[in-house]
Symmetry: C2
Subunit: 190 residues, 2 copies
DNA sequence: TTCTAACATGTAGCTCTTGACATGTCAACG
DNA sequence: CGTTGACATGTCAAGAGCTACATGTTAGAA
């Protein structure tokens, strides 16, 4: 039930088409809740049927523009207020890291280097977006600025962690008899 | 296809039952890849049928203990080596934050305070685990120490971000005409 | 001895999500 | 005028994942 609320939020901010939504997702909410167009279009149909959004315009090539209704906004508020947040996180890339010990250390290091490059790309994209967008334009933008700041910090931290982990592995932390990670030089971190 | 590899990894480290796995998940891999027992048991059956794990023991109350086979370990390595990582992240709690602008500022602040408490609880649990476990015992443990360190940093950062966001909202960042988040006092942050 | 809580394994039905398929429009370029 | 690429909307089948249901065991406390 998360996708629908993401859509309600975006369409409450400004009218958009399914196509707009699926592209916009990839640079905003998509960072914490990915969605393909094949999921978005049927959801828009359902939301329309339930009266939570309404088609308020059309454009060339069959383009349909939707907007959140009062009922939709109420549903969004009630979701935030009345349903308990799901604090779980799903992140395959970090699951893989758990398994790195099955690779020889040099391969594990190469693996982390690839991850790092990916995260740097991501961070660069975020930094560019922060610089490019006028975040004062409306409430959704202001709210998004708070969220994207978390993205910036998250990827910065992730890169920092990889550098630390790579150091540990290079020092033999994954090999039996090597130094225990987090206990480098006999002193416990943090 | 991620759960099966998580299981292969854990069962390569030490023999465990489905019950052990479902509990262990909640304090290790479950932090990045949650799984219920209702998903684990059928997956164990499939993995057994495919020869990637094998039942190597039994215990009271119908307890079945499994272990990853050579074929399973090979499958795990090949997953790490040959399949492209999925770098996407799913995190409902942060999706909700995108929507906070639909609530009045005081309610948004209360909302973040609840999130913060949850994350502090989580961080405390991680800190306690780091202190309690002997991370040098085997390779899986050493590898896990790297992963849990990321968890520690992640939740620390998350709490720091909430404090920043709350400050912004308190200063009126979500209200039209208020200060634009990230541009506090006219100076752009980091 | 009886009760309770933790141990232990499973199944069934439903929703969510993905990847592939499918179709058509329009603008710009050569 | 034909081609290409972006725009634009959809469907469908298969698999992943969640909630609830279902069953039985064992240790320890009262």
């Amino acid at each position: 039930m998360s996708l629908r609320h993401g859509l309600l939020d975006l369409l409450a901010g400004e009218p958009m088409s399914g196509y707009d939504l699926s592209r916009f997702f990839s640079v905003s909410m998509g960072n914490v809740w990915p969605a393909q167009h094949s999921q978005i279009y049927p959801e828009l149909a359902k939301l329309t049927a339930e009266g939570l959004i309404a088609q308020t315009g059309e454009g060339p090539r069959g383009r349909k523009v939707y907007q959140t209704t009062e009922a939709g906004l109420a549903a969004l508020r009630s979701w935030l207020r009345d349903s308990p947040p799901d604090y779980s996180i799903r992140q395959e890339a970090q699951l893989r890291v758990f398994c790195l010990w099955v690779l020889p250390p040099d391969e594990a290091l190469a693996y982390l280097a690839r991850d790092r490059a990916e995260y740097v790309r991501h961070l660069d994209l975020i930094t560019a977006t922060i610089a490019a967008v006028d975040w004062g334009e409306n409430q959704v933008r202001r709210s998004s600025r708070l969220s994207i700041e978390f993205g910036r910090r998250f990827y910065t931290e992730l890169i920092g962690w990889i550098d630390w982990a790579a150091e540990q592995i290079a020092a033999g932390a994954l090999q039996p008899g090597g130094p225990v990670p987090g206990l480098t030089a006999g002193a416990r971190l943090g």
